[in-house]
Amino acid sequence: MAEIVSLPEAVAELVRDGDSVALEGFTHLIPFAAGHEVLRQGRRELELIRMTPDVLYDQMIGMGAARRLVFSYGGNPGVGSLHRFRDAIEHGWPAPIEIEEHSHAGMANRYLAGAADLPFAVLRGYAGTDLAAHTNVRFIECPYTGERLAAVAALAPDVAIVHAQEADHAGNVQLWGIPGVQKEAVLAATRSLVTVEQIVERLEPRPGAVVIPGWVLDAVALTPRGSQPSYSLGITERDNDFYRRWDAISRDRDAFLAWMAEHVLGEVLVR
């Protein structure tokens, strides 16, 4: 049953050094505040899992929190490169990072298998690509038709962290807008945290909403604006200017560190 706790308490309780951690949110509802709290608490050696490691994972990688990255698209959407991600892979700064990369279809099916507690999932994919030789994918034969299909291993993160618009006092969570792969990530994970914009008396049913019952979650943390510069549809707007500005901030190692110290780590000092 989900306990409603503060974000620092939730992260302290649920995220440990060396964990595999999936912070999901497909462009929408990215749990920035929770990722920043993980950095403030100094977690290290994480296996970071995420279909689209964008600015948040650029920050976490740049701070040296990750030993490994599992992903399918590492770009600043609509802007360009993720400079900290590139620096880590190209130059091992601030530390070498191991990578395992997939296609979106592969990652989505890995989460599906994890949510269903099956060891693998089948898809028509990876065929003919160089990806197949550089990642963890196997091929199996259909027992009915003999067709050769890709089999991807289930993802079962130690912890999943997602952001949603709201929860009720029992920890039932409701999100709406682009649903991404958050529900699957939560169900695939051993432990889970949902940060929310607001706690409400009652979840009013909404079009396009995904509801996650509180009894499959470990913690819910009230975290207004917790997805900025990403957004929470209907509550906050995507800060597209910030995504553009991130390109300049993140190009230079020192500028990056200074920005993080001021805007992310600095917050812990005034607590």
Binding site: V79, G125, Y126, G180, G208
Partner: protein
Amino acid sequence: MSEASADEVQTIVAARALAHTKTVFIGVGRPSTAAILARMVHNPSLVLVYESGAIGAKPFHIPLSIGDGELAATADAVVSVPEMFNDWIGPGRIEVAFLSAAQIDRFANLNSTVIGDYDHPVTRLPGAGGAPEIAANCERVIVVIPHSRRTFVERLDFVTTVGYADGPGARQRLGMRGRGPTAVITDLGVLEPDPSSAQLVLTQLHEGVTVENARDATGWDLAVAEQLSVTEPPSDTELDALRELLAR
């Protein structure tokens, strides 16, 4: 009105390619601009599908990301990422996919993973995203890509996405459902696969571009069609609409 730039011509030609298309899968950038332009000018009922889950999105503005709120808000249906790939892209329900890449070869294979060696990259690119399965399974692919020796290479550093692999019949052997790339639209002209060799042939040049320009910008010995056509110049309607769209 000022004359159309090469980039504008490329976008307008890409939009025209969707004049009779029912459904198109698009990412962000020029392909997205072209598809929105197609809805404005040629094909108001064109269904835009974004991998973020928005099916039938009707954006008024060019989205910066595939997850911009306007896409979900205007869509006919919004689905999860697993559903998008398993129930919509995988079974080949989408007619055309617009793709781009950092490198393309003569068989229209694409690289968006890495420049240099995979384990010791010169430039690490974003990676595959949805492209491999989109290109494998949508009915056909149109590549929208800048034309230069940096992008049009003799040999890809990494095959992220299969066009025609190593030639005719390869897609079928790989179990792919879609026909593969039917056009590569660049800022210089249009290339199409030769049906017998599955290699790209220059079939169309934008106004003012020469065969030599295209050959110079191509990292392999570019074949040229016997009947080389010239791109119909952008109409005022097209150019007006594109500029108005970009200014929104």
